[in-house]
Subunit: 294 residues, 2 copies
């Protein structure tokens, strides 16, 4: 068995190539738009959603070729959401992955369009997936479009935006995060699994795991935002508190938020325990998400 | 046979209900986002793309139920593009369909999110379409995602944005419009046709017709922008010239632009002549697009 660090590095490098290959300008007059799209997607990030899709796909014997495209579609949705989230009318952030944000680099209009284009491209990738069973592609598109839409990621962003400066209950915060971050992470796990042959049992296992790591990811994110430095994060640290955004840390306190993360990690690992070796990298990823420092 | 005005009115009313039914907030904390989405989509517009989808679907014996959803998905893409196009970083327009634009009414952040959410929802509608043949749904998603994406509508917007104040050749202008407006109109015709059983011959007919009316629509739009009043248009008139945007009128002059429209109309009508009665509303729509005054 390949060790986890090598596995992760291999997928990260593989995804850089895959994403690049699907973001080549088809004509010279589109070079500017594609450059902004590439800037938003390439050269950075841990690719956690891609890693989750690959790990889930390993548990359903998915082919690497299909997983690359599936993971690329999720990553494009994720990247577009970051571009739009960073814009002045939203979080007004100037730094992302240690580089100027897309609108700082290319202007707001081009950032707006690059985000819009990435979303369409994500669905185009899934629709053109080289997979013999059309129903399975449609299920992936259903899952991704719901997770990315108003009852998923964008809905969570809207709740987040509306509630700046307002104190939320724990339940309201959890709901907001389930939509804003959790839905897409959950979708990454599910459509990664669906890239292979996923039975009912495994689907339920991935469903539970996906929900738990989605929440885990956000709790850890909130903890990191509260304690880490801008240099380590590669994005502006302490922004949540500064923006008066409710987070797990502001609601639970730092220690309880950390304990909550440990509990979520435990549940996620337990969920995939019956997969044995085939769930190996799902467990490793849960560890990785809990322990990440940046 | 129902007369054209009644047919058009019936579809416009039908689409208002259909669109509304697919834009109901699933939870109270999402009410704000869905309100902005509804505002962007409901209560206005000629629904030309919906009408084209219905007319194309009639030529392939598509069911009304399926056409409603197909047309709704196209209209959501169109509406999202208007919301983002009106934003301050793009056209900075404050009036649309005689009402304040979405960002004027709900703020820029909510307009950004409403547009993003509408795009995802459009693909969700197609993926969930009640159609027995999954391959046909996938073809629709391929067509719509390509038409809406960087090598389609968004690509055209990017070319348009980059070339403000620069004079384009006729070929460059045509290419820009084929992407910006033509691609989605063409997609409306194609996926409307695919909602029914479309043979190879009819597919080629719709393909040609779709390209011609797409261009026709834009030429007429440019003529109207040059000659009509803000009151008639329901959006700010004369904006193109004021923004130093290249248009068919600035490049060809008003008379030649009008003659070009007449020629395109003739070609579109000729393309569908072999469909006979089943192409009746496609002909009527070409007439309608040529003659529209607002």
């Amino acid at each position: 068995m390949v060790n986890f660090s090598d596995w992760m590095l291999d997928i990260q490098q593989r995804m850089e190539l895959t994403l690049g290959s699907y973001l080549e300008a088809p004509a010279s007059d589109l070079a500017g738009l594609y450059e902004a799209m590439r800037y938003a997607v390439l050269g950075g990030g841990k690719r956690v959603r891609c890693l989750l899709a690959f790990a889930a796909g390993e548990s359903s014997a998915a082919s690497i070729d299909v997983l690359e495209v599936v993971a690329a579609s999720i990553e494009m949705i994720h990247a577009y959401s970051l571009v739009h989230d960073d814009m002045p009318e939203m979080d007004n952030d100037v730094l992302r992955r240690g580089k100027p944000t897309c609108h700082v680099r290319y202007g707001q209009a081009m950032a707006l369009l690059a985000g819009d284009a990435l979303q369409a491209r994500a669905f185009e990738l899934l629709a053109n997936l080289n997979l013999a069973v059309p129903e399975r592609k449609l299920r992936m598109i259903k899952i991704l479009s719901k997770a990315a839409g108003p009852a998923g990621m964008v809905g969570g962003q809207a709740i987040d935006f509306v509630n700046v400066g307002i104190s939320l209950s724990f339940q309201q915060l959890e709901r907001m995060h389930q939509l804003k971050t959790g839905a897409l992470i959950h979708a990454a796990v599910m459509i990664g699994g669906l890239a292979g042959d996923l039975g009912q049992d495994r689907e339920e296992i991935l469903d539970a795991y996906g929900r738990q790591v989605g929440l885990l990811f956000q709790v850890v994110d909130d903890v990191l935002d509260a304690v880490a430095s801008t240099e380590l994060l590669g994005k502006t640290a302490g922004k949540d508190a500064e923006d008066h955004k409710p987070t797990y840390v502001t609601i639970l306190g730092l220690d309880t938020a950390r304990r909550f993360a440990v509990d979520l990690h435990k549940s996620a690992v337990l969920s995939v325990s019956s997969l044995g070796r085939e769930g190996h990298n799902l467990v490793e990823l849960a560890d990785f998400i809990l322990q990440r420092q940046f």
